[in-house]
């Protein structure tokens, strides 16, 4: 027994000596320092990586902020991924984070691209440069059939024809925080086959505040609602044609649709309703209905227009109405003995518009008073009422046009156009083929100076 115990004791002593020798070998000073340095450098490297990743994440958060829930989920997944990596495999840890950084960078770039694309979502058009030059266009192609020659524009011939509509380039640019410009150039197809560019609007716009906005240049006279709202892009209007009373001057319209001068406008937001105003001072009309005085004023007498519009949104949502008045002195035409005198023109009228969701109702009337300084007084009365109701992509509509000219009015009777008394009913259907293309079809029955005419019009109108 003692022998066995002595053997065990010797074994234990030998083991202890062996262990001591081994520890002494491992814990030599040189190796201890090396181990310490290695651990320190690894720890510092991990710390640097952590700080770097946090800084990168913070910087990136300025561009991509995610909802709290997503951030928490992401952080959790990062923590889960990083914890074992720190404990066991530093190189794996770095690779994991590098991959995460790479994917983060890619997603940030992707988000930035999406932000760039954001401006195009609402049909803003192409945008260039620091001044945010935007280019937008409108166009239309029509087909028409009429069983009578009356009631057509002067540059159209025949009873059934295709007709190139207007090709409209619309440009805006921001010159400063409060100053912008707007230009609308329309390329029109003449019956001779020529294409003539026509600068329909060019404006410099000063946005002082909501009560005062100043526009200087050539604009659409704020006379009534339609002429102020709808211009040459026919895609924007529900119908194929403008109302008869609001046709442009070069299509036989009786009103001064365009003018060159200055326009002041603004909106007062009052308790329960808004009040909009538009006031213009312009050169006014030239010697005939088509003559626009863009470069001068033959008689130096300015035209004035004023329109007031109430929007009682707290009483009836979607309703707006108001009066309009226009005053001008039309210069005499020295080449025409029937137009030897200046004409004082006074136009007054009003509009009632109700537009809410699917429903659209527009009504406008105008009284055009021409008072020759020789003593003759002539009155023309006209207007229209239009209603439509949207059902999905379809929009059926109806319009009634009425104009009663004074046949003795020399301003109209001496014009190149036939200004005919008009009594016309139009029924039509608009179909939105795509977001920026509408097909329209309308049938009109009209009486023009006691002559009947039936007209069918088709149109594809688009915006690009």
């Amino acid at each position: 027994m003692a022998k066995i115990l002595s053997i065990i004791a010797v074994f234990i002593v030998v083991s202890i000596v062996a262990c001591m020798h081994t520890n002494a070998a491992e814990m030599s000073e040189e190796e201890y320092v090396r181990l310490k340095n290695r651990l320190t450098s690894e720890f510092m490297q991990k710390l640097k990586d952590e700080i770097k990743n946090e800084l990168v994440a913070e910087l990136k958060s300025e561009y991509t902020i995610e909802p709290k829930q997503k951030q928490e989920d992401k952080q959790k997944s990062q923590n889960v991924a990083s914890r074992p990596a720190i404990e066991t495999q530093p190189s794996d840890y770095r690779e994991t984070h590098e991959a995460t950084d790479k994917s983060k960078a890619e997603s940030t770039e992707e988000d930035e691209l999406k932000l760039d694309a954001a401006r195009y979502k609402l049909g803003e058009g192409l945008t260039f440069g620091e001044q945010m030059l935007k280019i937008k266009g409108f166009g239309n192609v029509d087909a028409s059939y009429s069983d009578n020659h009356i009631g057509k524009s002067a540059n159209q011939e025949g009873n059934a024809f295709f007709s190139m509509g207007e090709f409209d380039l619309f440009i805006t640019s921001q010159l400063s925080n409060r100053i912008s410009i707007l230009g609308e150039t329309v390329f029109e197809f003449e019956s001779t086959g020529e294409v003539t560019p026509d600068l329909e609007r060019v404006l410099i716009h000063y946005d002082v505040n909501s009560l005062l906005k100043i526009d200087v240049g050539k604009f659409h006279t704020p006379i009534g609602y339609w002429n102020r709202l709808y211009h040459h892009g026919e895609w924007l209007q529900t119908t194929v044609e403008r109302p008869e009373i609001l046709k442009f001057e070069d299509h036989g319209g009786p009103l001064p649709a365009h003018n060159a001068g200055i326009q002041l406008s603004g909106s007062a937001m009052l308790e329960g309703f808004d009040l909009n105003y538009f006031f213009t001072v312009s050169n006014g009309r030239g010697i005939d209905t088509t003559n626009q005085q863009n470069m001068g004023d033959l008689n130096d007498k300015k035209a004035f227009s004023f329109q007031l519009e109430a929007v009682p949104h707290s009483i009836v949502e979607g309703l707006r109405f108001g009066p309009t008045v226009y005053y001008d002195s039309i210069p005499e035409d020295e080449t025409n003995p029937n137009r030897a005198n200046e004409i004082r023109e006074l136009i007054y009228g009003g509009h009632v518009v109700y537009s809410l969701k699917n429903v659209e109702f527009l009504m406008e009337t105008f009284e055009i008073n021409h008072d020759e300084f020789s003593g003759g007084v002539f009155n023309t009365f006209g207007g229209y009422a239009q209603g439509s109701y949207s059902i999905g992509k379809f929009k059926p509509y109806y319009r009634y046009d009425y104009i009663n000219y004074d046949s003795k009015d020399p301003f109209y009777s001496e014009s190149e156009f036939d200004f005919l008394d008009t009594n016309m009913h139009t029924v039509g259907l608009r179909y939105e083929l795509s977001q920026f293309n509408a097909l329209k079809c309308e049938v009109s029955h009209g009486v023009f100076d006691d002559e009947d005419a039936n007209i069918i019009r088709l149109q594809t109108a688009f915006s690009f």
Partner: protein
């Protein structure tokens, strides 16, 4: 005939569920540098309708919407603009065409985009869901409407039931 009440109940439940899903609570977020903390509902309407285009300090207001398909933007179209969602694009084009606006609203594809734009543009105002408000952001803040925070009783942009 005996199935009719069941069908009617199913239709009713479908309509209720549909309405509940279509409209969402909308939070109004602005850049942190914007001094506004509370805005009257009428002012918010005027901002959305672009009748008011500048903050009280003169800074230009930039509208930032989520995509048209989002329930928040659809809620605004129904409640404020009162037009069809299909006409929203035409609405802005007409405003631009009439020189009423010099800048279109921004409409990024994602929530991140909305928040990033409001973070970047000091005059921006964005419209997001209540449950999408980022917590602890030092770039944006939620503003009250008529003195109410989103979700509180009487908050004007709460979902309609």
């Amino acid at each position: 005939m005996k199935h009719i009440p069941g069908i009617l109940i199913a239709i009713f439940i479908f309509v209720v569920v549909f309405i509940t899903e279509v409209y969402a609570n909308v939070a109004v977020i602005v850049n942190k540098s914007n001094p506004a903390t509370d805005i009257p509902y009428d002012d918010l309407k005027h901002i959305l309708e672009t009748k008011k285009q500048r903050w009280d300090n003169g800074e230009k207001i930039t509208l930032v919407f989520k995509p048209i398909t989002s329930s928040e933007t659809q809620m605004l179209i129904n409640k404020i603009y009162k037009i069809r969602c299909e006409d929203f694009c035409q609405y802005w084009m007409l405003k631009s065409y009439n020189n009423e606006i010099s800048e279109y609203p921004k409409m990024p594809e994602s929530l991140n985009g909305v928040i990033a734009l409001v973070s970047k543009i000091s005059g921006a105002v964005g419209f997001i869901g209540i449950d999408e408000i980022p917590q602890g952001s030092d770039k944006i803040k939620v503003i009250r409407v008529n003195g109410k925070m989103p979700g509180e009783d009487g908050y004007p942009l709460n979902k309609e039931k």
